[in-house]
Subunit: 255 residues, 2 copies
Amino acid sequence: MTKSRAEMMSGAELEAALRRIGETRYHSLHPFQILLQEGRLNRPQVQAWALNRYYYQANIPVKDSYILARLGTVELRREWRQRILDHDGSETERGGIEKWIALTDGVGLDRDYVMSGRGILAGTRFAVDAYVHFVRDRSLLEAIASSLTELFSPNVIGVRTKGMLAHYDFISQDTLAYFDKRPVQAKRDSDFALNYCLEHADTREKQEAVMDALRFKCQVLWAQLDALYYAYVEPALTPPDAWRPGEAESGGKAP
Amino acid sequence: MTKSRAEMMSGAELEAALRRIGETRYHSLHPFQILLQEGRLNRPQVQAWALNRYYYQANIPVKDSYILARLGTVELRREWRQRILDHDGSETERGGIEKWIALTDGVGLDRDYVMSGRGILAGTRFAVDAYVHFVRDRSLLEAIASSLTELFSPNVIGVRTKGMLAHYDFISQDTLAYFDKRPVQAKRDSDFALNYCLEHADTREKQEAVMDALRFKCQVLWAQLDALYYAYVEPALTPPDAWRPGEAESGGKAP
């Protein structure tokens, strides 16, 4: 940035600045993510990832409901509610949360245990709750901007899915069904959110707030992988009360 | 516990159960704390600890203000406000926050940088904010119970102070002045909070809530040390935007 903070960026400049934030901070760059997609984790480590990320997935419709409550027009709510439908599903179509449960089933974790949230890392809970609180308490513009990490997800999902299928014999295409529709959904959602931010960030201060919201959200995702790496990879000092390998195996219970 | 969940515990049983939570979960047992007090950290690692814990210290009067707002009687507020006086100090007496700044000064960190909160780990921010939100949003009984970690701090402070003075040539008695009064204050405060909880937890459900609040608070403290260990000890994968050794040295600026 050569522009002073006082000067407005053009829409193109703001978009470029947002993309640069993703290039250095999106969790696709996290060491845990690299290990995951390169097949360098063992089954318990993949279980820990699936277990902890369930808590994140389960809270997505919560944070989207807070946004829905504040959008203020029928048109905007119609647009945004699709995210909730995608995650919560319907009687005829499985939602993202149910598909994530298929993933935790697939890696052999007990479904009731996963859904209870017991055994997740405090680091996961604090990060995810911070995201929900941010969306509830900050300006609507910042709340929407915090969803912009989806700008960076479509490419990453392909790499991860391919890597996981190639390297882990306990992972099947069906187990990873969650990711099938995400690239298209994420593209649609992030196009909308980006346009909203470009339109409504009409002062330099608001543009900075949009960038800070994206940085914050990158931290929410990154910190979850920090906690997993610490507890289950190295130094593998699993905190008290957190899930331990061998616990909550589904045995014959899961489908 | 041989009692079923439905049965009330006696006051003595609840107190014993609370002390058992501390015996297995208080952060005095955390590997980072052990390294710190045994002199096995280097100066940047101690700086990282002091920097991050400043954010926790700075938020103590915030959470205590939320409790103060909800206590409901002059007598209870008179009791609880002492905590805020202790941390915020007065014109004639340095408070805990100012003394913590003396510690970050002492280890050579730039004071403005420390107070800005820039460079702290996301894991620190999320854990501390989770504590403030817990105190604001949960029942008053749970908010008060979450302070009960102070039951376990007096002994630990002595061990840590002695260890740090013995092992680190960049730490002086004056640098650690924060800890001088804490054992007496913590004893007074935790006696009050414990009695409040024993008196007001008049159903088994409330007794369980008190225990859960203490477990939660133990996680708040523990997770902060997890984040420090991960970022600065092993695997030392410092997250983007977090403080790095050599940054924000006070040079000639601090007293």
